[in-house]
């Protein structure tokens, strides 16, 4: 029975991983081979030209750079803002209006992004932030869920004694945040950061809307725009897709635990 289960699970895991395998080999196939019958399970020969073509015909290096900057900016901003606010809500019990403000924060979680698409676009147009990194970094950086999650974590794991003694020692409020709270909350920060990362790195729709020139495109956008060409260059697309997928997949394999933690955080407490 156990053997059967293991066999079954292995088969299913293979099925789930199959599209990745197909992506991998297609990236090395010549264009004609991608659509031949019968489908080829191994490229003959293994073409590295596709990757060379990608670097020549698209701006993929620049796109990688853009995606990285945007991800770094968005995640760090998000983590910073949420942890700062989370700390404030957790450890300042006497501030007037705190509970009502926190309830307000929670209420904002119910606003669907779809309703705000157009106005945010218009606002960004008017402040001339369209086609800049800010257009991708700012919207959504302050998420109510992040604050909720950080507040919960800080409440549970940062002891008031630590904070009080730091205050007695003359440490400024921001210093307390930076030197005491942040180190303790690192796991939660990592989880939140990763959640943000997945959201912004893979984002296509918003990138399509706000990034308007070739030098500002992100990775998913570069791949998508290749797809619309008249004679679809599938071999280039597959090679570019492989390049775009690798960073997050590698990050995931290295930091599996943090990824999972980030995902499950909301479900358990929420």
């Amino acid at each position: 029975m156990r053997i059967l289960t293991h066999v079954l699970m292995i088969c299913l895991a293979v099925i789930f991983l199959f599209p990745f395998y197909w992506l991998f080999i297609s990236a090395f196939k010549a264009k004609e081979q991608i659509f031949t019958l019968p489908p080829q399970f191994l490229p003959h020969p293994w073409l590295v030209q596709n990757f060379v073509k990608v670097f020549h015909e698209t701006n993929i290096v620049r796109a990688f750079f853009n995606s990285t900057i945007i991800a770094a900016g968005h995640c760090s901003l998000s983590v910073f803002l949420c942890s700062l606010a989370g700390y404030a809500f957790a450890k300042f019990p006497h501030a007037p209006g705190r509970n009502r403000l926190f309830a307000f924060v929670l209420a904002t979680m119910m606003i669907p992004g779809a309703v705000t698409l157009i106005p945010v676009f218009v606002v960004l147009c008017k402040i001339h932030a369209i086609n800049t990194y800010w257009a991708m970094i700012l919207p959504g950086a302050a998420g109510a869920f992040g604050i909720f999650w950080m507040r919960q974590y800080i409440l549970d794991s940062v002891h008031n004694d630590l904070i009080d003694s730091a205050r007695i020692d003359g440490c400024g409020e921001f210093g307390i945040y930076w030197r005491i709270v942040v180190p303790i909350a690192k796991p939660a920060l990592a989880a939140l950061g990763i959640l943000s990362l997945i959201g912004v790195w893979n984002n296509l729709m918003w990138a399509f809307i706000v990034l308007r020139t070739d030098d500002m495109l992100t990775l998913p956008l570069v791949i998508y725009l290749l797809n619309g060409e008249l004679r679809t260059p599938y071999e280039t697309i597959m090679a570019a897709s492989l390049i775009a997928t690798l960073p997050l997949v590698i990050a995931f394999l290295l930091f599996q635990r943090q990824f999972i933690q980030g995902i499950t955080a909301g479900a358990i407490k929420g």
């Binding site: 289960t5 293991h6 699970m9 292995i10 299913l12 895991a13 789930f16 990745f20 197909w22 659509f35 019958l37 019968p38 489908p39 803002l81 700062l84 606010a85 404030a88 809500f89 006497h94 501030a95 007037p96 705190r98 403000l101 904002t108 119910m110 669907p112 992004g113 779809a114 309703v115 705000t116 698409l117 157009i118 106005p119 945010v120 218009v122 606002v123 700012l138 950086a141 302050a142 997945i198 893979n202 296509l204 809307i209 998913p220 791949i223 998508y224 797809n227 697309i237 597959m238 897709s241 775009a244 997928t245 997050l248 995931f252 599996q256 990824f259 999972i260 995902i263 499950t264 479900a267």
Partner: protein, 286 residues
């Protein structure tokens, strides 16, 4: 108040950003629902005109129907799969747990653009792998992406592949948070595995199920990337879900007023449905 200035200082970035990118857009969008504006020329007042148009918009209702159909096609298999996988991964004797978890979760971290493009290859009418395998076992090839009947199932299959791992991980966490004492007490009382499942596991998993349901609901309604890349909503409007239609009205037709009206209306109904689902949670906890 001044004593607590740090509190206000620390929460102000959130409120500023929220004000600019959350609250203001929310109100402006509401205002736009009653107007006609293309973002480029002057805005004109439309009163309830947009809502009247919405009530007669055949494509809008088609998109809602498509959303529902896609949801019905992919959510049950995905849920069941996720739950079964979670249970199996939760058993003590399973080996390679990390490998399985990674394998099923990997689709979640992949860009949707890439996933959709790979599936375009797999779904090819003559040379796609799936149809090739079908012909090998004697079945007829399926016109996945070019037929109005099969475009929704094509998307549904992709979604099952994509989201099973995500829900599995959530459910696994839920399973792991159920205290063993419950099971031990039940075993002592002679309850068999199915009874344990029915009386302990399922009820205690209710919050997770509800969370997953709401996430799936919101995800299906507003889903964009998959449909945009895989089928562009076609052929015709057969796979246009609400997310894609909203995008088309907003940023292809540039009818900002009408789009806002549509977004608000649907958001309202999604909200009501979410509340309803949440109510199930409250009634279940005892």
């Amino acid at each position: 108040m001044w004593r607590h200035r740090h509190f206000y200082l620390f929460i102000s970035p959130f409120f500023v950003l929220f004000g600019v990118f959350g609250l203001y857009p929310l109100l402006f969008s509401f205002y736009l629902s009653f107007a006609r504006w293309d973002g480029l020329t002057e805005l004109t007042w439309a009163g309830l005109g947009n809502f009247a148009t919405l009530a007669h918009d055949e494509v809008f209702f088609t998109s809602l129907w498509n959303t529902l159909a896609i949801g019905i096609l992919y959510v049950p298999p995905m849920f069941i799969g996720a739950f079964v996988f979670a249970i199996i991964l939760n058993t003590a004797w399973l080996k390679f747990r990390g490998f399985f978890r990674a394998a099923f979760f990997m689709p979640v971290v992949t860009p949707m653009v890439v996933v959709s493009i790979v599936f375009i290859l797999l779904y090819g009418e003559e040379a796609g792998l799936l149809n090739y395998l079908a012909t090998r076992i004697g079945a007829k090839p399926i016109p996945w992406l070019v037929s109005e009947q099969w475009s929704k199932p094509a998307i549904a299959v992709l979604l099952v592949w994509r989201w099973t791992g995500y829900n599995m991980v959530l459910m696994l966490a839920g399973l792991q948070s159920i205290s063993h004492e419950y099971y031990e007490a039940a075993k002592i009382e002679g309850a068999g595995p199915f009874q344990r499942m029915w009386h302990i596991t399922l009820p205690l998993m209710r919050p997770i199920f509800i969370f997953c349901s709401i996430m799936s609901l919101i995800g299906t309604v507003y889903m964009f990337d998959e449909v945009f890349v895989l089928t562009q909503g076609g052929p015709g409007t057969s796979s246009t879900n609400f997310g894609l239609y909203l995008f088309n009205v907003s940023f292809v037709d540039f009818k900002f007023g009408y789009a806002s009206c549509m977004a608000y209306t649907v958001a309202f109904f999604v909200f009501i449905t979410s509340l309803f689902i949440l109510r199930l949670r409250r009634s279940g906890l005892n």
